[in-house]
């Protein structure tokens, strides 16, 4: 009957100022009643043209830019960029620097997934409770970042050739004190949501991405793993000595929003395992190699990628032997994960569209750059 009798199609803006777009981002949804019949994303509200600006600054000066792309995981962004420069210039990082980088990147993944899982629960309507629990733990991680780098959100801690400073006094105790409560919080969040019938009804079989489509659409990170594709750059292409750590890749079953959520929770557990191992085997020695401030890498190009909390974060640098990169390109995982939004939302209801959007775990700073 609804095929015959249709109401007027109705353009409904979800965003840019909307409680669940996680930033200034807009979905222009055409709806018929409660059903979304077309969805178009509009981005660019936060565009700062970092790629252009970076072409006029030195390699070291560009590190703070990377903080501000994905502001929820600045450590990972620093790391990806520094890896790209090191690959371009052929710089080796001492083992201690690598271990510190691993600890920081994994703590950052924990902090980011705390936010992602909590915000997703918020989008399904679990009114603030899970996000508050996760934010409580995230605050502790940010405290550790603050004592290490002096900043909570945009840390700017990684340097080309290592990290900026030596770890502070009492760092290891702080991190070890964090692990137990965080495990408990993950278990709490899982207990509150994973088996909850309402949560299952909202997240299961919603926004399904089959694995072949996930690969074809260049998805990465939890979006790809949620579809059952075992792909983690830490395993596939280890950097910073990830091959020494023992961890597993969590993969989902059918690629729905629920799978992405449980994959994120399990990734947090695995990250805790890595942090523990890295703390146990923290080597001595220098934390960084000496790198000239006005670095002039040889002409060439390098693409380095890491497994950021949102997926494959790649930096593509082209050098023309100048002090600043000839081309500085970020491969933003959020943006490419977002490109399947239409496939995920069309045909579902408005509420499903919100859940689909929440399950991508976007950061608009990274999408627009």
């Amino acid at each position: 009957m609804s095929e015959i009798v249709q109401s007027e199609p109705f353009v409904m803006n979800i965003g840019p100022q909307h409680p669940s777009t996680h930033g200034v981002f807009r979905v222009k949804a055409t709806v018929d009643g409660e059903r979304v019949i077309d969805a178009e994303m509009v981005i660019g509200y936060l565009h700062r043209s970092m790629e252009k600006l970076a072409e006029e600054r030195t390699y070291t000066q560009n590190i703070p830019f990377t903080d501000r792309t994905d502001y929820l995981s600045s450590m990972s962004n620093n790391l990806g960029y520094c890896l790209a420069v090191e690959k371009l210039a052929g710089i080796e990082v001492p083992p201690r620097g690598q271990a510190i980088r691993v600890i920081m990147a994994e703590l950052q993944r924990l902090a980011s997934h705390c936010m992602g899982a909590g915000a997703f629960a918020n989008d399904t309507g679990a009114w603030q409770t899970p996000i508050m629990w996760f934010m409580r733990e995230r605050e502790k991680i940010l405290d550790i970042f603050e004592m290490t780098s002096g900043a909570r959100l945009t840390c700017n801690y990684m340097r080309i050739g290592g990290v900026a400073f030596e770890l502070p006094e009492g760092f290891e105790e702080e991190v070890r004190a964090l692990i137990g409560p965080l495990r408990q919080t993950i278990a709490d969040g899982e207990g509150l949501l994973s088996g909850n019938e309402i949560f299952l009804a909202r997240a299961r079989n919603v926004a399904v991405i089959p694995p072949d489509m996930a690969v074809n659409a260049s998805l990465s990170g939890p979006m790809l793993r949620g579809s059952g594709v075992a792909w983690d750059i830490r395993k596939a292409d280890p950097y910073c000595g990830y091959e020494q750590y023992d961890f597993d890749i969590p993969i989902g079953y059918q690629g729905d929003a629920y799978d992405r959520f449980i994959v994120r929770l399990e990734e947090m557990r695995q990250s805790l395992r890595i942090v523990e191992q890295a703390l146990d085997g923290l080597p001595g020695g220098p934390h960084s190699t000496e790198v000239p401030l006005a670095l002039r890498p040889p002409a060439g190009e390098a693409y380095a990628r890491i497994e950021s909390p949102r997926g494959e974060l790649g930096y593509y640098l082209v050098s023309d032997e100048g002090p600043s990169p000839h081309r500085f390109h970020i491969r933003p995982p959020s943006l490419i994960n977002l490109s399947v939004l239409k496939e995920m939302t069309v045909g579902g209801s408005i509420a499903d569209a919100i859940v689909a959007l929440g399950s991508i775990d976007i950061v608009v700073g990274e999408i627009d750059r």
Binding site: M1, S2, V11, N13, I14, H18
Partner: protein, 138 residues
Amino acid sequence: MPRVFARDFTNGWDVLHEYGHIAILVIIALIFPAGAIVQSWAFKFVNIRPEVPSDPVKEDTYECGMVTRGSALTQFNFRFYYVALLFLLFDVEIVFLFPWAVVFEDAGLVGLGKIAIFVGTFVVGGLYAWRKRALEYA
């Protein structure tokens, strides 16, 4: 048997007497929120409430930060009509059931049977609606 009413309505107390109380309460109930709104409005004369001059952006409807285009008062989805019809069907039925519920004991098993037939017709109607997928909203 339990007693039926807290108060004996046959003994001088009229039911309308009680509804009269409710009528007075209706007036109070309307004054109460209207007073709050009027008070809030009147605060601007004693400079407690700010009164910023209006501009087009402020008086626009909220559209997530975009400029609103078109009216929101459009035709809504047809499904809604089904729900309204079903509600009418069942609510009218229930209105007829309430008198029976009060005289239930006098009606006895025979009354129950009659009511079962009555409800049965609506159950058939409901099943038909279910079959026709009228119960699926959105």
